[in-house]
């Protein structure tokens, strides 16, 4: 099970305030699908509102495989000027 850390405000908005979750997922696409089960509606906005990091590194490619002990961090996307 990959551990998922959910950063504000996504934790309150989609996961009832839970900021530590676990998902069984082979890659980040699958993780997002699993997260949608825990927080309905999340998958619909994930690509435009979230940035994903795996084991401390931002990963733009969501087909990146996850290990059982991977840590996924869910960050809100921040827009620049």
């Amino acid at each position: 099970m990959a551990r998922v850390v959910v950063m504000p405000p996504l934790d309150d908005e989609f996961f009832g305030g839970r900021d530590r979750l676990e998902v069984e997922a082979a890659n980040l696409f699958a993780a997002v699908r699993e997260l949608d089960r825990l927080g309905p509606g999340f998958a619909e906005v994930a690509q435009v509102r979230a940035t994903l990091a795996v084991d401390g590194v931002v990963v733009p490619d969501w087909s990146t495989p996850l290990d059982a002990d991977s840590e996924v961090i869910l960050l809100p996307r921040v827009g620049g000027g």
């Binding site: 309150d12 435009v48 509102r49 990963v59 996307r77 827009g79 620049g80 000027g81």
Partner: protein
């Protein structure tokens, strides 16, 4: 490929050649948004709301339609009804319904200047005359402009369908609080318990406009087959395409957006205002239509950065170690939700190690234009408060303010709030450079004060496409989809020259339209030199491999027996090491060695790194008038490897001047009815050349190891420190803490008198 540690190994990176688009721009030949003309073009004008908040009861178009020369009129009723959909807008996102309604109001107007109807006519004069003939019946509603008033229970609610996001449980009543975000760690009570000194206070900033010289403008030509062309100036023509398509329910492939030169954006041109309106006018009239905002319209209807109210408490131990920070900030969202609270919360104390902290951010709807990105969106306001508080803490502890910051600065390997380790960041190096700079120890005269402040921005990567092709004579064409805002054509050419090992002047860069190159995200967020530059480098590297292969075919050797040096293939085969094939000869015979030589890279790179800056400002306060003069200003920044140092320094200087304007002068002035009183540069006072000294720059070139040429991104950071650098300088000159921006003479004068 990692960046070489020795930057002297570069031949072109780090040099300062003439920009390839310079001559067109300085001779007035370059076509900007309002310059473009299409044959048989109509001229548009937009009727805008005179009310800050009103319900549209009816719109009577009959008199306007009857005016000779009027060819088309559109209102909100001409726009498709859309379902709520969160769409990417640059790096962030917005609801497409809000984008559409911001282009043209439907049932309600939400701010003075909100578009209500638009006319296309045979001349601009007729179009402007026609909009005066449109009769709109409004039911004027109570309005609210102020952040805290908008949060009161009895405040007029702008949207009945917006409920505060980011709170749990979800609220059951609509609210002007569009978003709440809280980031907390450690134990605040325990942290403040360890503090030898604690400071607290309220800080405020006003909404400020990006102040780009070129107004929003576009020309749209609709064809009878449903395809259309848009010529516009923006920070991202792919975003113009996708947003226009979504607002109007069109296929993106039917829309071809050609980027015109851009006369400043700073984040404010990452969205759309005019394009769907001009499209509908063109569809109705069957002719191309130009819409261009006047300066007044730019101020009334296009997005400023949010103003802010920030309440803050910070504590430090006797030795200067920060132990706790409790910050709550509220930002204007304007008429529609924005998402600057995320970045404000994540930037607020991101450049310091604070073990116990809570940062709460709010976005508050009010009857002002919808806020939009402006360099480092969301960071300058809250960091203004933090850096002022650090100044006070350092003063109370008797520690040099630069040393105080150095003691607490984040360094590579430290953990970010989200748990991720910092990469090769250079904040400490910036602070060391500030301390060593002669400015920091220069003497000051009477009524003069010196301020220092730091700041950060996370920077970004994002998708980019680039093509590199070799012409028959061996010169090279680089094509990207990234509008050139700050000299990126030159930077792309330099990186291509470095990779291909051919002279910079042999490379020309084109910004292609949306139908001629694959997708690129907006030029914004300090991402283009990083991400599009990496795409260019990748494509150029592939071209080198093709050139080597062609040389190998020509020579009848293996590709592994060919090297690439100084723009030519070098044969490594035994006994043939004196053979060379320059790029021009390989390109000239390309049709006979396999065909044209080109490569495309389409990437979404990670590996971007945050940037940091430290600014030092000297001011002199006139005790009789409260006028503040900027005497000396130094901007120091961790820029990664500077590809073209002139344009890096230009970004640093431009950001600093915009920040000085934010600190000293700029503010929107509304009358009691919520109408903007100063929609022009005469009354909305941005700094001019005579207001500021030469901005000295110090580039700290700490290369990003995850970019081929060490790029980090530079455009956002330099607007973050100036607000506090100026305020701290004025505070020291005046002897009284200045916590409310802008520091206009009347405000400074009042503070001086109050302190007597």
């Amino acid at each position: 490929m990692n960046a070489p540690q020795d930057k002297r190994s570069f031949r072109y990176v780090g040099t300062r050649p003439v920009r390839p688009d310079g001559v067109e721009k300085v001779t007035g030949k370059a076509l900007y948004g309002p310059d473009f003309v299409a044959p048989n073009m109509l001229h548009g004008a937009i009727l805008r709301s005179p009310h800050a908040h009103a319900r549209i009861k009816s719109i009577d178009l009959r008199k306007a339609e009857a005016l000779p020369g009027v060819k088309a009129i559109v209102t909100g009723a001409d726009f498709p009804t859309l379902e709520s959909l969160i769409m990417a807008v640059g790096e962030s996102s917005s609801d497409i319904v809000h984008i559409s309604r911001n282009c043209m109001a439907y049932d309600k107007v939400l701010y003075d200047g909100h578009a209500v109807a638009a006319v296309a006519a045979t001349s601009g004069a007729i179009a402007r005359q026609a909009i005066k003939l449109i009769d709109v019946e409004y039911e004027v509603l109570p309005h609210v402009l102020d952040i805290e008033e908008a949060l009161r229970a009895d405040a007029p609610v702008l949207h009945e369908d917006i409920f505060t996001k980011g709170v749990n449980p979800k609220p059951d009543k609509p609210s002007n609080a569009a978003l709440r975000v809280e980031m907390a760690k450690g134990d605040l009570e325990e942290g403040f318990g360890k503090a030898a000194v604690v400071v607290s206070g309220r800080y405020t900033t006003e909404p400020v406009h990006q102040g780009y010289i070129e107004p929003h403008a576009c020309v749209v030509s609709w064809n009878a087959d449903g395809q259309l062309q848009i010529w516009t100036s923006s920070q991202g023509h792919f975003a113009v395409r996708s947003l226009t398509a979504s607002v109007l329910g069109l296929s993106q492939a039917d829309i071809r957006v050609t980027p015109l030169e851009i006369g400043g954006g700073f984040g404010g041109k990452t969205t759309i205002y005019l394009e769907p309106v001009a499209t509908l006018l063109s569809r109705k009239s069957g002719r191309p239509v130009r819409l261009a905002m006047s300066r007044s319209e730019v101020f009334r209807a296009s997005g400023p950065a949010p103003g802010a109210v920030i309440d803050l408490k910070m504590g430090a131990a006797e030795d200067g170690t920060l132990v706790a920070a409790d910050i709550e900030f509220k930002y204007h969202a304007g008429a529609y939700p924005a998402i600057t609270a995320h970045s404000g919360a994540s930037s607020a104390i991101a450049h310091y190690k604070v073990p116990n902290s809570r940062v709460v951010g709010w976005e508050v709807l009010c009857n002002r234009p919808a806020t939009k990105a402006y360099r480092a969106p969301g960071a300058p306001q809250v960091i203004f408060a933090v850096e002022c508080a650090l100044d006070e803490l350092a003063g109370k502890l008797g520690i040099d303010p630069v040393d105080f910051r150095l003691k607490n600065a984040v360094r590579p390997g430290d953990k970010q709030f989200n748990g991720m380790p910092f990469g090769e960041i250079g904040y400490a190096e910036c602070l060391e450079a500030a301390k060593a700079h002669p400015h920091w120890s220069a003497p000051l005269g009477p009524n003069q004060g010196r301020g220092v402040a730091g700041g950060t921005w996370g920077n970004y990567g994002g998708p980019s496409t680039a093509e590199v092709s070799v012409a028959e004579d061996g010169s090279v064409l680089v094509t990207t989809g990234s509008p050139d805002i700050g000299g990126s054509r030159a930077s792309m050419a330099i990186m291509a020259a470095e990779t291909l090992q051919i002279p910079y002047e042999k490379i020309r860069v084109t910004i292609a339209d949306t139908s001629s190159i694959g997708f690129s995200m907006v030029t914004g967020g300090s991402r283009t030199t990083f991400a599009t530059g990496k795409a260019v480098t990748d494509a150029a590297a592939e071209v080198v491999e093709i050139l080597k292969e062609r040389a190998a075919r020509t020579w009848g050797v293996e590709p592994s027996e060919v090297d690439w040096r100084d723009g030519e293939a070098v044969c490594l085969a035994e006994g043939r090491t004196d053979e060379r094939l320059p790029i021009g000869r390989i390109a000239g015979s390309a049709p006979f060695s396999g065909g044209p030589i080109s490569a495309e890279a389409a990437i979404n790179p990670g590996g971007y790194l945050a940037g940091y800056g430290v600014h030092i400002c000297d001011t002199e306060v006139d005790p009789e008038t409260g006028h503040v003069k900027i005497l000396r200003y130094t901007a120091i920044q961790d820029v990664g490897q500077a590809i073209h140092p002139d344009y890096v320094e230009g970004q640093m200087q431009g950001g600093a001047v915009q920040g000085i304007g934010w600190a000293l002068n700029e503010a929107y002035l509304y009358d009691k009815d919520g109408r903007l009183d100063n929609p022009g540069f005469l009354d909305y006072r941005v700094p001019v050349a005579s207001d500021v000294p030469m901005i000295d720059t110090v580039m700290i070139e700490k290369a990003n190891p995850d970019h081929p040429y060490g790029v980090k991104g530079v455009g956002e950071v330099p607007i973050v420190p100036p607000l506090a650098a100026v305020a701290n300088a004025v505070t020291h000159a005046a002897g009284v803490r200045m916590a409310d921006l802008p520091l206009t003479p009347d405000r400074v004068y009042a503070a001086l008198r109050a302190a007597e």
